[in-house]
Amino acid sequence: MKHLLSIDDLTVDDVTQLFATAAEMHDVQHRSVKKLPALRGRTVINLFFEDSTRTRSSFEIAGKWLSADVINISAKGSSASKGESLRDTVLTVTAMGVDGLVVRHAASGAAQQISEWVDVAVVNAGDGTHEHPTQALLDAYTLSRRLGSLEDRHVVIVGDLTHSRVFRSNVKLLHKLGARVTVVAPPTLMPSGVGAWSAQAGFTTSWDLDEVLPSADAVMMLRVQRERMQGGFFPTPREYTIGYGLTRDRLAQLKPDTPICHPGPMNRGLEIAPEAADAAASMVLDQVSSGVAIRMAVLYHLLAGEENA
């Protein structure tokens, strides 16, 4: 594994190995000395062309706990805002002698493109509406810690699927791990062409949340990405909540203790009611702490071993 650009890069064995490593990394969070020397002397750059708090700081903490030097570059205030091309920015940054790039970009395929330009390990931390593989890994890892094997578990993913890279990475990974996935969205937020893809990728689609919720073993609520919507996807936020929000009433339809995930940041009261976000079965904070462990595992497997391994 040289890069992590897409869930397609991973075999089931790779995922199992990453989860096992993450479980060990997880323990570091509870130690008084939160430091492992495995990436000492390695440099990782977080190259973020889109806003992000949790993903960027999660990668930063992951790198630092493994003793790598981590530098954050965000598009605002960088030369990208002065008109430098993506290629020049990336080549400039890698010419400083880095070992890994963690990239977030608004264009789908940006991480893939960058990996072809440079010789260092590239981790896709979200590219447009394409993929966000570490988010899918941490979601599946969180759920497998809670549920055990995901084989034949019914996972329901709800929300703005059209704009969601998290959904795309998640259906691929959950299918790889044997889960049954149903994705639910209003017709306007269901990606076009999803029918053919769902048949091939082994998930089902639905417009009716109330119909699928009672059989769910886990629910994953996605954020309504208002910044990516140029109008017209649903009449009012209120109407979205009535049709597709995880409201207090819907919470009661779930089997007891069904884990509730949300990749954050949450729009409380829009796609998820406070009662659901703060429920005992809510995994939201577990996802955050798992995120650090998974990213440590990913950085470790990409950067610790011999070069060109």
């Binding site: 190995q17 060990e24 323990d27 008084s32 000395v33 492992l36 020397p37 470790y300 071993g305 011999e306």
Partner: protein
Amino acid sequence: MPPSPDGDRGRAVLDAQDIHRALTRISHEILERNRGAEDLLLLGLPTRGVPLARRIAERIGEVEGHVPEIGALDVTLYRDDLRQHPTRGPQRTEIPGGAVDGKTVVLVDDVLYSGRTIRAALDALADHGRPDAVRLAVLVDRGHRELPIRADHVGKNLPSARTERVMVRLEETDGYDEVRIADTVAPATEERP
């Protein structure tokens, strides 16, 4: 005896009885040195140090009526040769109670060779706290140290050539107890110094 991937290559240097006796002696030595089993923590180094630590703890329990705490300390992330090999996932680390402060830690491993594993273990241990003392017990010391490290308790001193392989097989991990020494045909894989 179940067939092993190494077949009958080389010669057996310790059989099950020898291993049993060596561990019994080590258990008594540890007790004598520590004046009892109080505040004793046996940390096995995965893979085969872990069952060895468990056996020593049981032996100590039989003698003293008090089984010392046992755990596992994985050193993968602390190795100095990470860059020379494809990445290996870490194995389980388990420190009972999460702390080593105030304890006498006995590190337990199967083979002592270059000493680099123990160097890594000492670093790993320091990140878990500050033990009162750290000692080292090994089933086999085959020499060829590359660092100023020695064992406090040794099951068997086994003079060996660098080209030879020492293979420890244990009931818990391999189905039978035996230590063999053999000429290396291909570079040893599982037993990196």
